[in-house]
Symmetry: C2
Subunit: 201 residues, 2 copies
DNA sequence: AGTGTGTGCAAGTAACTACTTGCTTCCATC
DNA sequence: GATGGAAGCAAGTAGTTACTTGCACACACT
């Protein structure tokens, strides 16, 4: 079953480069170093192959866990956001292409969205815990705060290569900026100032 | 020159639905209610047509102005963000497709980005004015705060149709949430509380 | 009345697409 | 050593694509 894996991996790569229409069976077969006919022996159609490749990718997306009992929100969030920001950036080409397929192949797009929903839920629940533990105050909406932070990471990861003017700071600094802004926004900005001074801003 | 305009408009519409590869000259000509040959009499190639259509669109994108001397940041930002949020949402299909073309047709993608950079600059300068006027405090980064708010609007506009679970609030409420969070983040949360109670949160 | 200019229409070209068929070759297992 | 499955290879099918050519028509100006 080595060939099947090679085909799935190649399909993901070519899809990320060229999208659904541009990912021809010939290109995929070449990328997998396999005869084009073999592709159709493993998958009934190109659609089936791409779908399987995207589903496999979405399943493999790792969701980092945030601590069940928050102690240092700033460093915890920076670690978590840093990880997901890097993942988003690494996969930005694939994400752009999958989003572009939304009108024509909604199922392809939906595969990728599932992972995003999972990650967002993890953050929402962490923010709820922060509020319950008294580490954050105010009457802000949990879903909105989640989407604000994740939206910033998402737009940054996708836009920083295409609009360098808008992102003059490094990826590392970006995460710190967004986390600090969010912590201020949810009334958790002045907790644990000791850890705050330690990292460069 | 009516036909030329019809072709540009049709090209933009078909491109938003199907992307570069899917926007065939036949489809565009049909959408413009024009013979396919006529398309090639006005534009040397399909590439040239799409490029012109996207350039025209990027040029037409309206940039709302933020007041030179801020008085009520919350309502001023809500009005400004509400407008751009609606515009982003209206054009989300086009934006998704243009972003997907980044690898294969960077110039197409870049056309759209120019407008985004313009809009972002307007917000950055407003935030700077807020800080100078003493309406916002803290040592936050202006570009980061800009990108945080615009990233939230951008991700919301593009994701709310494909991931309704993540956006349980209305578009109107979304803008208020993000603006309130940002104002808190930049130490401008408790100014003009009168106007704050007026709108539903 | 004549002369462009812009358009429609029918047809064709050359390249590419997903997918198929028939045959050969390798290689592990019985 | 025979058998079966998995792979390669060459070729072909039917459809689509961007783009071209040649000709006819209709309208505007002189």
């Amino acid at each position: 079953m080595d060939v099947r894996e090679a085909l799935l991996e190649a399909a993901l790569k070519v899809f990320a480069e060229a999208g659904m229409r541009g990912a021809t069976t010939r290109k995929i077969a070449q990328a997998a170093d396999v005869n084009e006919v073999t592709l159709f022996r493993h998958f009934r159609s190109k659609d089936e192959l791409i779908e399987a490749a995207l589903a496999g990718f979405a399943q493999r997306v790792e969701t980092r866990v945030l601590p069940p009992t928050p102690t240092d929100p700033r460093s915890e969030l920076i670690a978590w956001c840093g990880f997901h920001h890097r993942e988003l950036h690494k996969r930005s080409a694939l994400i752009r292409k999958a989003m572009g397929e939304h009108e024509e192949h909604p199922s392809h797009c939906a595969q990728g969205m599932r992972a995003s929903v999972r990650v967002a839920r993890e953050l929402t629940e962490y923010l709820r815990r922060l509020k319950q533990a008294g580490l954050a105050t105010g009457d802000w909406d949990e879903a909105a705060a989640t989407n604000m932070l994740m939206g910033a990471l998402f737009a940054d990861a996708l836009g920083r290569d295409t609009m360098p003017d808008r992102y003059p700071y490094s990826m590392r600094a970006a995460v710190q900026h967004y986390v600090d802004l969010l912590l201020n926004a949810i009334g958790a900005g002045d907790v644990s100032p000791a850890s705050r001074g330690r990292t460069s801003r």
